[in-house]
Amino acid sequence: MKRLIALMIALMMLLAAVPAMAEEQILPSDDVTLTFFAGNGDVKGNEVTETIIAKFEEEYPMIDVVNVTPTSSSFSEGLKSLDAVGEFPDIMEARDVPMWVRAGKIAEVDPELIALVNNPPAFNGKHYCVPTKSDAPLGFFYNKAYFAEKGFEEPKTYQEFLDLCEAIKADGQMAPIVVGAADIWHMGFSWMTWYINYVTNTDPDFIKHLYTGETKWTDDYVVDCFTKYADIFLKGYVEEGFMSTSDSQIASFLVTGKAAMFISGSHMVANIKDADPSFEFGWFPLYNEDGALNTWGGAGLNGWMYSVDCAADEDKLIAAKLFIEFYLRDDNYAYVCSTMSMLPVTNVVVDFGEHVNEMVEVQKASETVEQGWNSKWGENEIPTAFRNFSYKIAQEWATGTKTIEQGLQEMQTEWDVETQTFNPVTGVGIVTE
């Protein structure tokens, strides 16, 4: 009997080994160094990236992943600086994918990797990046205990939101909103919310029509949108030192009772919990005057991409593919998504908790769900330089340095200059060689 059991166990072990043998991984023929560029700007994102890299190197000791991300520059700025000194990274988290494709810097991604994700977006009919997330809507995180104490409720219209800000300001205990404007990209969260509600809600092809000359930045509804936006700052609803507050500080403003709310993406759930695990916070989206919702969301041209040089080196390509597969493997990807509160692009099951679940429900209930204005491609792609130019103008509105009309006029002038060399509608500057 014992012999029979031993024989059966041995047989089972052998059978268990068969699929493993069949799926034997292709590994690099020699030790490989992959230079890596991260696109995250927030602290939690960097922490998650470092953890994944460490785990990957542990599992694949022959692959050395060297993080070459500069600490003090934006994604494009950092990547271009590396390119200028001939150190374009092998693998990177994609932003501005169309621009890098046109520059001939990134390679088409292996179809095996694309098959790992649901609904991957294509550019010019080809896949240049493996998306890492589906965007959750932007909204306001707020101090739940303070709201309960004062009897404040989540606003369901834009007027209710303004009334709420006014009430918190009048209360005087804390600033209604904190904005991390020291990081220029952080301005994008608030900008995008108002822009989606009042500009693209009026004209979904606003950018395309700017290219064709049918619309202008100085049109009435655009002026109206940004007047509403700037009023939030000019009416004193935003914490006074917002220009020296960085994105990484806003969670601490909330948990220490310096501000009642801030606007950001789902990734801030983890940051707030990190700042104070016992802090009670809620979340609400910004409704327009009619109580309708227009939100940001979906999988855009963001994710993993690898360089042309990396794709040309057999070992590096194997290593890059292994890294992306490793990242998207259920256990790792579930960790990334839950830690970063990111909506997954694979079928992995993630336990998010109440806040992210609420965001998903809000997204389902939205009248329109669209990609961020700076993540679109095709005829609605904006010139690369224009995004930060706009956010800088937004800073000037917020600090009262410029009027809305002056700022929008400058934006129109800048738009006219930039579209002399880039216009996807007429094809100027769209080179694919």
């Binding site: 020291a182 220009m243 600090t399 340095t401």
Partner: protein, 493 residues
């Protein structure tokens, strides 16, 4: 002895010959300046450099006329490619003329190296001839660009009749563009150097002009690694290059300069640059001089004071920026915390204008005063005690001694410090990048900062490079003017 001299003579001739070959390389390169039609195939077979361009220009008008006729344009319609042949003809003529003039110049110089004076007194015309060549090149390039643009614009027209015309002339999506050879720049440079050398007088006892040809190897290296990249920058300023896509490097003439001068952002950056440079230059020198005098007079702890004042100089601009950014923070900064303890209101140091600009200047003064102090201190210590003693014997008090003896003796240091401070003031970058990121908005951007942001952050290398050229000219004019004035003053003193 005789054979030694003879051998030396042979060696000298060999060196001269080698140098001449090098010069040939340099001087003949303008020929390739107009090698054009990169990435483009024209159906009329127009390819190659400026010389073939000239012959092609002879036939292009008739070709175009025939195409237009075949396209059967409606009455009153103008051909979108009209004038293209004329522009190409001007390009060809200019190129050929430039080539002939530079070849004449080269022959005269080459003859001189071999000991034959062909130029005679006419050598003084060389600079004018060199400028004529450069002007001809410019004219050729300008017309070629206009020609390429005409064809490109015509290709963009979707009208069927026009499409027939451009379809017959122009093929594919590529843009006809000017490809200027690296060697062409070097050639122009060599030609200007040749002209400059010809102006030097040949004096007995002085270094022979022919010896100056020995500078050529060094000049060639210097040109490759310094002057050529600088000239490339000038060229980039006339393109729409985004810094990463080679195909984006299209010649757009003066568009970048036009846009720069019309930009409110650039006006603000220029104002900030001049404001920071002026205030910094004045105050850093006043503070540095005061520190130097104080450190010179102090009786105890002299080394401690010197080290303390000099310490900020050793910190990099980035670190200094971070330190002060934390200290200036409106909500968490130590300065506002102390103000709070004293019952004062918090100050927006870097959050609003004009405080943001003043804060930047303050940090610059804090960081750099020690550097200029050291130069003043060295000068103070080199003043002869005899002078001070003589002033004292003559009954001068401390103030009189300082203003009438010490200060004039520091004239040389003033020249150095004011020039350095002005140049450094015009080039401030680190502190702005960290303290304000040029903000709020664009309000604390300087030209240097804007150049980096535009060229690297906004992917407009051509635009940024054009700005760099403007900054270079500003520094050149201001620096030259200041230096000249101060030297005059120095001489008077």
């Amino acid at each position: 002895m005789q054979s030694d001299k003879k051998r030396r003579g042979i060696w000298q001739q060999a060196v001269r010959l080698a140098l001449s070959m090098l010069l040939i390389m340099c001087f003949l390169m303008p020929m390739f300046t107009m090698s054009a039609w990169k990435n483009v195939t024209l159906k009329n077979g127009l390819k190659g450099n400026g010389i073939t361009m000239l012959s092609a220009a002879q036939t292009i008008d008739s070709q175009l006329a025939s195409i237009v006729r075949k396209a059967k344009l409606e009455e009153g319609m103008t051909s979108p490619v009209s004038g293209a042949g004329e522009k190409l003809r001007v390009t060809g003529i200019a190129t050929l003329a430039g080539l002939i003039v530079s070849a004449v110049m080269f022959l005269m110089c080459f003859a001189e190296i071999l000991g034959v004076n062909l130029a005679g007194k006419r050598r003084r015309l060389f600079p004018i001839l060199a400028l004529v060549v450069v002007a001809l090149m410019g004219l050729g390039m300008w017309n070629f660009t206009a020609f390429a643009q005409t064809i490109k614009d015509a290709a963009a027209v979707t009208d069927e009749a026009f499409a027939k015309i451009t379809g017959k002339l122009y093929q594919g999506d590529a843009v006809p563009e000017m490809k200027i050879s690296v060697w062409a720049y070097l050639g122009i440079l060599g030609m200007l150097a040749m002209a400059a050398l010809q102006l030097l007088p040949e004096k007995k006892g002085a270094m022979s002009r022919s010896l100056l040809w020995f500078v050529v190897p060094a000049l060639t290296m210097y040109s490759c690694f310094v002057i050529f990249p600088a000239l490339s920058s000038v060229y980039l300023g006339f393109t729409s290059y985004d810094g990463i896509t080679e195909a984006s490097m299209r010649f757009i003439g003066l568009d970048n300069y036009r846009n720069i001068f019309a930009s409110a952002r650039f006006h603000s950056a220029t104002f900030n640059t001049i404001c920071i440079a002026a205030v910094f230059t004045v105050f850093v020198n006043v503070i540095a001089l005061m520190l130097a005098v104080a450190v010179d007079k102090v009786r105890w702890g002299k080394n401690i004071f010197r080290s303390a004042f000099y310490l900020p100089v050793l910190i990099s601009g980035i670190i200094a920026g971070f330190i002060w950014r934390i200290m200036f923070n409106y909500s968490f900064g130590v300065i506002n915390y102390v103000f709070g303890l004293l019952g004062m209101e918090s100050v927006k140091f870097i959050d609003a204008m004009p405080n943001a600009l003043l804060s930047i200047i303050f940090v610059l003064l804090w960081k750099n005063a020690g550097y200029y102090m050291v130069i003043y201190l060295a000068a103070l210590q080199s003043i002869s005690p005899d002078l001070l003693e003589a002033a004292s014997i003559d009954g001068a008090n401390g103030r009189q001694t300082f203003f009438h003896v010490t200060l004039p003796m520091l004239a040389g240091s003033f020249t150095i410090n004011l020039t350095l401070a002005l140049i450094n003031g015009l080039k401030v970058y680190d502190e702005i990048a960290i303290l304000t990121d040029g903000g709020p908005g664009f309000s604390t951007e300087t030209i240097t900062y804007m150049i980096y942001k535009v060229a690297f952050g906004e992917m407009r290398q051509g635009y940024g490079t054009a700005m760099a050229v403007i900054l270079f000219l500003i520094i050149l004019v201001l620096g030259g003017f200041q230096s000249t004035m101060l030297r005059k003053r120095e001489v008077q003193v």
